[in-house]
Subunit: 356 residues, 4 copies
């Protein structure tokens, strides 16, 4: 089934971009959890474009809670949040609803739902659906915080410009706090300038760019994960690949490990003050599908935003007629900075579910 | 839960490397499916090392069917296969069972199972568990073949030596048949020579190498996949990351897409003879988490074999004592050629489950 | 997990009696299904008390659709309905929130949710939660109707007064239509008079009564059900026991079969016009957990309404203090007539999920 | 899916009556659990007919463990047991495989599995499949025993002869121990004599009889159960209805509650020594789908054994030809005494899964 994830912390997403509302039902929230409004608001705000790279359509995305909490405290019953769609005009895409915009889900969505899907604004495929996902991630993060688990992500690469990577052994909440306080989530602000220049250049060309988000999790106890199938990598990758535009996921050294020798990719074990750890972290904190107590490290590759103003060759998928797609309106030429919090949210949800 | 995957084609794996047996229960096999012994035998044989790069321990791994079939025809009830462990001597690892071999799951497995896991030969973490996985993949492949779906994989890269990639638009069963007939699964046999030389060099250094498996699926109908969460990428990645040693998964252009512009990564649509297709395939056959009718393309990165003879720094994870791991016995310095069929099997199982 | 049911037709319920809203997310609705408003309204209306036996609190319970449909046609994406709680005053129970009302879930809910559950009006345990359940049942019924499957239920017994049972062999849509058109769902209206008199007598005594709902399903194809575990009985019983106040479920002859001999409970097979059927139906249309093409027949026992005005011995579950529970306000002394549609809804949901 | 139950304690059953073997994969066994052979053997032995009412076919049903345990101690990985079928002759039913034996699953199984199911000896529908179920129940019971939870069941009624019921308030392990030590599981041995006489009379008439098993669980903590859907009743009923021949399930007063008034069926709360309990137990220990700390009480109705020697009217379900079924061989005319342990096993499995 499509729209629910999890068994112990379960998130069910609903909504279409231009329908009445989008939202989520979140099951398994710890009874008594304080849903700190300031924390959640700041968390969700990171999903919104800031500064130059925003889209024309801006919505506050303020969810309201319709069940599962009394006075901001979780009841333990399903927590439901609804985000009203204030902008429901559909003129942008309406008359062009049979055009297969390259890189979009127009054609595949049409097939999957027998032509009955709501195509306005991308419908259920809209990036707007990440708003309730991020809300659920905020709630999961509050639950994880109680266990001493922290999560942070940054734009590790945009248009080929690369940020300083996390130190795989020593990364921690200090870096996360710094990232969360910045408008542009990079460790090295100078790099952020270069990325923004590259984004602006793409926009000037009526084009878009992609990038890579790197994420780290600290404080996760060793011994978490359920092989054979339900490995920590499987769980996390499953959710990461649900984020629109993600086309690759790697843990620790990832694809680079494929070019290492075993003596390089095997992390030596050491004992420090009675605690077992590894002196390197090519494994990204996971061995045999189970956490080993080191920082969890993974990266998600995002393809460029498919909505570009540049004319593109395509077809009317009902008639087969060849035509040129012209996607109007202002679109964010790079979602990667905004996607960092989506990656954090996915990780938080996956781990909250795993830890039960 | 750990050892079962799927809801409509469900595989439950069991067994420890040096216990009485390993095996699988496979639910959802089409009643009446002919379990072609020759096909399955050849499929499973591809998992075994051939030629120079074999391990010392060779087992025929011939499964016998204990339920769910009569005279080689599936009943529709759970199909259970058992593979007896003929080599159950445990001297190799026995006295060293508290040594955290770098790159292995010894330490994490100890934590996960409270010290009660069967450590002999890697126990439940042994690569031997891929034998019943591959058997299940063979059965799934037979089911998919009835629908006109074909799957092939090759060693796209080993120790930095790269094979010709699949043509993302025209790849098909002809390439798969060629690969399946070769001892070393590469499209370009000359490249295979180079890979084998690199493997031999690593072995000579008491070391090991990793690589990348590329896999393609053809014949999958357009319109398959269940966003938001249950995207085609999510499903496949979930299973691929369960294969031991996989540390990265990408679809289509994958991590390369992160460096493209939208005008490059958006695949133009064309109509040919009344059929909609794309003229490129950076998407790897998936848009919005749903198949678009083009070949499905993905790659899995394998870290180098962790078992190496080279001395490595480590600890006794019970006492914390520092020591040097010396892994004796002959080990396969590169599992990538044998892993190609594991990747095919994972894809077949995921798709059989999705198609129901 | 608690609040979701199903894998192919999945219903997630949310809400508390006196919170902002209650509702449901319904996944797996057939794309293109016309959500006939008249049908759904009439279906849901049967859940409301009519005539003399109503409670003081009446709400229209008109759900509004917030996702998954455009112009009354299902998109195939999650269908979300929200029912605002117009009556959110909580004075009834507020100051008494630590009193374990006999027969209610006050004490067990307190334990289950660590004291954080919303106790106002029964919170998540309120019978109001059956409103979105019945809505989901109406949608499932529309899907089943397309397959020629019909469902009907009647108050087979109330306070010991028994209605004519369904004819187990010939029952069909004609009886269902008659029942659905009546204010009081009985086959024999004279019996309904007797039941209402018994209910009135209980009310006069500040007490309440229970009863039995009998349900039949016709048009279900033979061959549906998935033993070993996922039998048709298991599926249906699972959902029926989720309806508040249900304490017993039986199929076909049920508990009576325990007193039969095999020669009585075995239904003889006959062939009529090339179609196999049974000449009796003690099996309730199910053999070996699989439908046999005969009408599906089952009964659910409802305990009396726990809310009674009669003084009852109880305790404050926090302090342990003994006291007398006095439940004020007007309460429905018999929910059985209104519960018939809940039973139909549960059956419809279970079958829609099973048929996919 | 059909053959797996559970998410935290998961049982997958496999096998056909006359195939090579039957068995189970049991996931979620506590690592380190001692699989006490004497306990398990005695538990499983209660499933076998003893004395006069045995069938002709007797097998020791000794399972052997093929994975998940070392030296009788659970590893935490999937515990797999295999029971070889020593009697695989198929002559009994072979030539009659198209005869729909009344009360059997021959016809429905044929439809469900497209005619490919193994019909020999009932195949996957055979009562033999309860052998691995009971084994899994024994393991679950060992896990529950560590938490102080005890389970007992007796033949509460056979052919209309009724045993003394459990005292719903004070029932406990003492009664369970007595029952488990008896050949015939009744509280009142004199009643057992009457039941055996009724069974013998049915046998003399070439007929069979059914009955009711009553089961009690003590030591279950209050606060267990997950409404809305995953109520304690739903969970238990789901598994109970998977036991072949069960046609009714009721909790506490069950169907009798339907004839009570609320003042009778509401159990008054009292506080004793700081502990909250109820002075009666019509609820069967469950309120709002959640345990209340009182003994859990439920009853399962078993229809008579369908295999009877008496000639019965039926058809060949392929040709439609009318004929007379003559079921040869000796069959147990009443499975109820042997079914008591099946009911206990189902309860143990459901609770082990719920408690995780």
């Amino acid at each position: 089934m499509s729209s629910s994830f999890g068994s112990r912390f379960r998130v069910t997403l609903f909504g279409e971009s231009h329908g009445p509302a989008i939202g989520a039902v979140i099951e398994g929230v710890t009874p008594g959890l304080h849903l700190e409004e300031g924390y959640i608001r700041a968390y969700c705000a990171r999903r919104l474009a800031r500064g130059a790279y925003s889209t024309a359509r801006r919505e506050p995305d303020l969810p309201h809670i319709v069940s599962g909490a009394v006075d901001g405290v979780a009841c333990g019953t399903p927590l439901t949040v609804v985000i009203e769609n204030t902008s429901t005009r559909s003129g942008d895409y309406g008359p062009q609803s049979q055009i297969a915009r390259p890189g979009h889900a127009d054609y595949t969505g049409h097939l999957r739902y027998g032509g009955f899907n709501d195509v306005r604004g991308g419908g259920h495929f809209s990036g707007r659906l990440t708003a309730p996902l991020v809300y659920a991630g905020a709630v999961a993060s509050l639950m994880l915080r109680q266990r001493g688990i922290a999560i942070g992500a940054h734009a590790a690469e945009i248009a080929g410009v690369t940020d300083t990577p996390f130190d795989p052994v020593s990364v921690g909440p200090r870096e996360f706090d710094a990232l969360h306080s910045r408008d542009f989530p990079v460790l090295d602000p100078a790099v952020g300038e270069g990325m923004q220049a590259a984004i602006a250049a793409a926009r000037a060309d009526c084009d878009s760019v992609g990038g890579v988000v790197e994420c780290a999790v600290t404080g996760l106890p060793a011994g978490v994960g359920d092989p054979f199938f339900d490995t920590l990598e499987s769980r996390l990758a499953y959710l990461l690949f649900a984020i629109p535009a993600v086309k690759g996921v790697e843990f620790g050294a990832g694809f680079s490990a494929a070019r290492m020798r075993g003596s390089e990719s095997n992390d030596p074990f050491v004992s420090e003050g009675g605690k077992i750890r590894t002196s390197r972290n090519a494994a990204g904190g996971i061995q045999g599908g189970i956490s080993n107590g080191m920082p969890l490290l993974f990266r998600a590759a995002f393809k460029p935003t498919p909505s570009i103003a540049k004319p593109q060759q395509t077809v009317n998928f009902v008639t087969g007629e060849a035509l040129t797609a012209e996607i109007r309106g202002r679109h964010d030429p790079c979602i990667v900075p905004r996607a960092a919090v989506c990656v954090e949210a996915a990780a938080a949800i996956a781990l909250a579910d795993l830890l039960g």
